[in-house]
């Protein structure tokens, strides 16, 4: 059997790799996507006061600390059985919208977008944010930096610190905002709406205006008919901070809708011997292996999933884009993974619009931002939508509020099975009878980049350009060919 290894080399060697096994005919038999997982966070937390969790969980991930802060904040509220004041909820959500704008912007312009803006065949050295700036113009770089700056500013104003917010506590927030701050936040939000519209226009002009790109998106190579998960509000509209978890089947019909506290009745985790990372799946559908279709419990949780799992967007401009999205991609749900990039921009617009809505809400400057918890702490679950998927925090404490057990299902883990399937499908289409297409590296990269995966977190950063090494072994395991991309 021929064996191909794709090794994303990072500063941490052997950080993750993809192994492709070929059958006797030289076609793909199986692919394995392996990453070493950070260990021991749950154990690290045991014995600590549960109110520390929104700060500690910030440190799980360097990419989305705000998402962990929010899930943790909701979980500790639940541990103390406290309903937080609506101003506190709105402040958290406002911070979260600003974070989303920063995060989605960064992914689109620095990671995902370059595949389209520069084109999948462009030299890898140009498929990055610098290439985008050179192609689209300096103006775009300035806007990206400005968007990030405004996002950071709001996180700092409401969250007390840039990047790692510290103001969410059991029962609400440690502080509110002044009218002056509100005005500043509103101004930045209005700018963000324009920026999101600009980004959608860039996508429209460069991607949708190019038939080859549209064909690439709609092609079979990145298509999987799975279940889709996302939080929805009472009207089944996309929500990032609150609501119920809704799952739709591959035919688009609602399969189940449940409250955060019931997640364990619906989600189970499959373990494979070749990876530390678990494979969450829909318990009541069952694990049928790494296959799609209605009989397989594999689901996806990404911007595209959220759009598929909802009936629409809660803000008018994003709703119009939502309708255009499904009209252009010919139906709902959309199963083509590369459409995640477009969905991400529609979410960017929603986040910006909702930012303005919250910043102009009369309650947002109210001093009523905290309710003192009075119940005895026990157990609590908090779910939010992280930019890269549904994020679940579950804590158990003793009667003093000291953590006794922690369970986390993080955004990227949800997508472990779909990512693995996408890699296999991309590899299968590019390796025929032992002949490896030159585009293998790029196409495999594009497969998992669409999901915006975040594996190691804070420190274990896969480099932005995702350097890859493909080693092709013959039937006896001898390396016969090595394809390299950005590997020193």
């Amino acid at each position: 059997m021929q064996r191909i290894t794709i090794d994303p080399i990072t500063r941490l060697e052997g950080h993750g790799k993809i192994e492709i096994f070929l059958n006797e005919e030289g076609n793909v038999a199986n692919t394995y996507f392996q990453i070493p997982e950070l260990r021991g966070f749950e154990r690290f937390c045991v014995g600590r006061p549960v109110e520390e969790m929104p700060l500690l969980t910030n440190r799980i991930c360097g990419v989305c600390p705000e998402a962990h802060h929010m899930a943790a904040a909701k979980a500790v509220d639940a541990v103390y059985h406290v309903d937080i004041p609506s101003t506190a909820k709105k402040l958290r959500e406002l911070l979260y919208m600003a974070f989303y704008c920063t995060d989605h912007t960064t992914h689109f312009y620095a990671l995902g977008g370059p595949d389209f803006i520069m084109g999948p065949d462009a030299p890898v050295a140009e498929r990055n944010i610098l290439g985008v700036i050179h192609k689209v113009g300096l103006e775009i770089g300035g806007k990206v930096i400005q968007m990030r700056k405004y996002g950071h500013n709001v996180v700092e104003i409401i969250g007390g610190r840039k990047v790692h917010p510290c103001t969410s506590i059991p029962g609400g927030m440690t502080k509110g905002i002044t009218e002056e701050q509100r005005k500043e936040i509103e101004m930045m939000g209005r700018w963000a709406v324009e920026f999101a519209q600009f980004s959608l226009k860039v996508f429209n002009d460069i991607v949708l205006g190019n038939k080859a790109y549209v064909d690439l998106i709609l092609g079979d190579i990145y298509t999987h008919r799975t279940y889709y998960m996302g939080l929805v509000d009472a009207n089944n509209k996309v929500n990032f901070y609150d609501g119920k978890v809704r799952v739709v089947a591959p035919d688009g019909k609602e399969y189940v809708k449940y409250e955060a506290k019931d997640y364990a009745a619906h989600i189970a985790e499959h373990v494979e011997p070749w990876t530390y990372l678990k494979f969450p799946y829909l318990k009541n559908v069952g694990w049928k292996g790494l296959v799609d279709g209605p009989e397989s419990g594999i689901y996806m949780a990404t911007p595209l999933s959220r759009l598929n799992a909802a009936d629409g967007m809660a803000t008018p401009l994003a709703q119009a884009e939502y309708e255009k999205f499904y009209a252009t991609l010919q139906g709902k749900p959309v199963h083509q993974r590369l459409a995640i990039h477009w969905a991400r921009l529609i979410e960017l617009l929603y986040a910006a619009e909702h930012w303005v809505e919250l910043a102009t809400d009369p309650e947002i400057t109210s001093p009523n931002f905290h309710t003192v918890p009075t119940e005895k702490p026990t157990e609590g679950i908090g779910i939010v939508e992280a930019p890269r998927g549904t994020l679940t925090h579950h804590y158990w404490t003793d009667e003093r509020g000291v953590v006794t057990k922690v369970n986390l299902v993080v955004g990227t883990t949800n997508n472990n099975a779909p990512i693995t399937m996408s890699i296999k499908k991309a590899a299968s289409s590019l390796i025929k009878n032992g002949i490896v297409n030159d585009g293998l590296l790029n196409m495999v990269e594009m497969a998992f980049r669409a999901y915006d995966p975040c594996f190691g977190c804070a420190t274990h950063s896969l480099p932005g350009q995702m350097p890859l090494q493909v080693t092709i072994h013959d039937a006896d395991g001898n390396p016969v060919n090595v394809l390299k991309q950005f590997v020193d």
């Binding site: 360097g62 960064t106 990055n128 944010i129 610098l130 300096l138 420190t459 932005g464």
Partner: protein, 162 residues
């Protein structure tokens, strides 16, 4: 030159927190009048868990930067302290100066410069790297060999300041 010293890493992820430990020691040395090292050019000593564009944004207005970070090459003994500049470093392989979510620090600095953000030149971005062992298990403890290397890393930074 206005100098920023930045300890990078995750303070609760074992050896990955060594950059923070070194930065704390340097802060103590610089604030101690008896140490004799009081360089007015050192405008700030700080810690951060950043990479890519976020790290670039943090470096705004600094003319010279000394990053202190854990590195994991498996090619050098644990605790080995290395010094180099960003321009000497193979792109994409430098700890927190690369990023899962956006771009490498070198790319990010180029982006920033093209936006006229005042940023240090690559040759004025120094990296003091400490070869790490445990960077996968959450812990507030450093491995013994990494802990032993802290004074040497502190000295390496002080030498750079001087």
């Amino acid at each position: 030159m206005k100098t920023l010293i930045l300890g990078l890493g995750n303070p609760i992820l074992g050896d990955d927190g060594v950059g923070w430990v070194v930065a704390d020691k340097i802060r103590a040395v610089l604030s101690d009048p008896k140490s004799g090292i009081a360089d007015p050019q050192v405008v700030e000593v700080d810690t951060a868990s950043l990479g890519g564009l976020s790290l670039m944004e943090r470096l705004t207005d600094a003319e010279r930067v000394i990053l202190v970070d854990a590195i994991f090459t498996s090619k050098k003994p644990v605790g080995t302290v290395s010094k180099f500049t960003l321009s000497e470093l193979p792109d994409l392989s430098a700890g927190h100066s690369a990023s899962a979510h956006d771009t490498s620090l070198r790319n990010a600095l180029n982006v920033g410069r093209s936006m006229d953000i005042p940023l240090p030149e690559d040759e004025n971005v120094f990296i003091v790297a400490i070869e790490a062992k445990n960077v996968y298990d959450f812990s507030q403890e450093l491995s013994p060999a990494v802990a032993e290397a802290v004074p040497q890393a502190v000295k390496a930074v002080i030498d750079l300041i001087n």
